[in-house]
Amino acid sequence: MAELFTVPAGVISTVQANWQQLLGGLKITVELSVFGGALAFVIAVVLGLAAMTRFAVLRMISRIIVEFFRGTSLVVQLFFLVFVTPVVFGWGSHPLVFAFVALGLNYGAYGSEVVRGALTAVPKEQWECTTALSMPWVTKIRRIIWPQAWALMLPGLNSLMVMLVKGTAIALFIGLLDLTSVSDNLQKQGAERFTVYGISFVLYYLLAMAFSAFLRRIEVRAQRRLGLKPTKTDTNRATAGALA
């Protein structure tokens, strides 16, 4: 029984021997999460707003882009960027950039559904009011609609962000040394499997939790601003619709 409660010496030596590589992997994973998440957010907002304009052409373009990136798999999109676009456009190979663009486009498309859902969920009277006051489009969105929709979309964006953090593991498929591929390499080089895999497992979990807690704080703040009491929100339901 005693072994269960003490850290085996093997774990410590494995960590001592490999922490620099693992840290490097964590850095790539965090970079992909932050930049991928930022790009996804921008794309989600642009496509989400485009879906709500009165210009049918814009709505249709947004619809096509969203369905395209939701309907084809993230890995296929990544491979297309990595293997096809450098040949077609001759822009060389940039695995890190390609990975973060793929994450941004894919999760941005999902996110735009969350944004659109939140915009639709703002009571109709609010939209009508802005028309009655003949507000310009920018003012209407910025001052009236967005602050209300913002609080509604955060639960959905929150769980998408967690999925994006997990999605950064696609780096493994294009030889980027993220947390997953570093631990896999170490394992192949003979490091103790459970230790190296276990460390990155825990790090992913903590990273996902950290992003989720951060977005939850923003959500509570957004709700307070609207004079609402912070509610326990159902992130699952907020995402499920955007996923298909």
Partner: protein, 228 residues
């Protein structure tokens, strides 16, 4: 670079074969398994004593918040390989078969945690009168779940379950992590052999789109009909 129809023509049958034999099999089997497991988790979370259900909730959140490729690597190379089950195979086909089984288990576990949430939403949408009526009739707990709660929760959860199944379908290329010959890895091989990826990756994307888009539309219609 130009589009070469002969590569596309040669690749399509190989990719379709991998699609039907691996991608679709994994999706269907793992979806059914995760729908069952998810229901078990959802009921367990409500019925188990406090401490136990907290443990279950924690395990589920561990599974849900870590990437599938890493989970596949752990399952195949840290958990199963040391048992020898993977090395004592008579043929490559059998070896790949076992990797596919590992893949199915990992996908089923990961998505069961999401589906458990869908069921939870469905269960919570049931009005309290239903529970009270079951108590008034002194229905046994088991029967209450079987005859009253689950059928109604199922109706509300179904579209969401379907959406998760579609999401899983699009995640199947993660199986490349443990070298399962699914559709996209076949595409990658063919592309590599011909030094041209545009045909195979376009086909792969189209197959995903053609298979997932109609299903997604179906789920959206179902959602309007079933969820009240």
């Amino acid at each position: 670079m130009h589009w070469d129809w002969s590569i596309a023509r040669d690749a399509l049958p190989v990719m379709l074969k991998a699609f039907f034999e691996v991608t679709l099999v994994v999706t269907v089997v793992a979806s059914i398994l995760s729908a069952l497991l998810g229901l078990i988790w959802a009921i367990g979370l409500r019925e188990m004593p406090g401490a136990l259900s907290k443990v279950l909730a924690f395990v589920l959140s561990l599974l849900r918040n870590t990437p599938i490729p890493l989970q596949l690597l752990i399952a195949a190379y840290a958990i199963v390989q040391p048992t020898g089950w993977l090395s004592h195979t008579s043929s490559l086909a059998q070896y790949q078969h076992r990797l596919i089984i590992i893949g199915i288990v990992v996908f089923a576990l990961q998505y069961s945690t999401y589906m458990a949430e869908s069921y939870r939403g469905g269960i919570e949408s049931i009005r309290s009168g239903q529970w009270e009526a079951a108590t008034a009739l002194s229905l046994p707990r088991r029967r209450t779940w079987q005859a009253v709660i689950v059928p109604q929760a199922m109706r509300a959860a179904l579209p969401s379950l379907g959406n998760w199944a579609i999401a899983m379908f699009k995640d199947t290329p993660y199986l490349i992590a443990i070298s399962v010959p699914e559709m996209v890895s076949q595409a990658q091989d063919i592309g590599g052999n011909n030094f041209s990826y545009i045909e195979v990756m376009t086909i792969a994307g189209l197959i995903f789109l053609v298979a997932s888009y109609p299903t997604a539309i179906l789920m959206r219609t179902l959602e309007k009909k079933l969820v009240y």
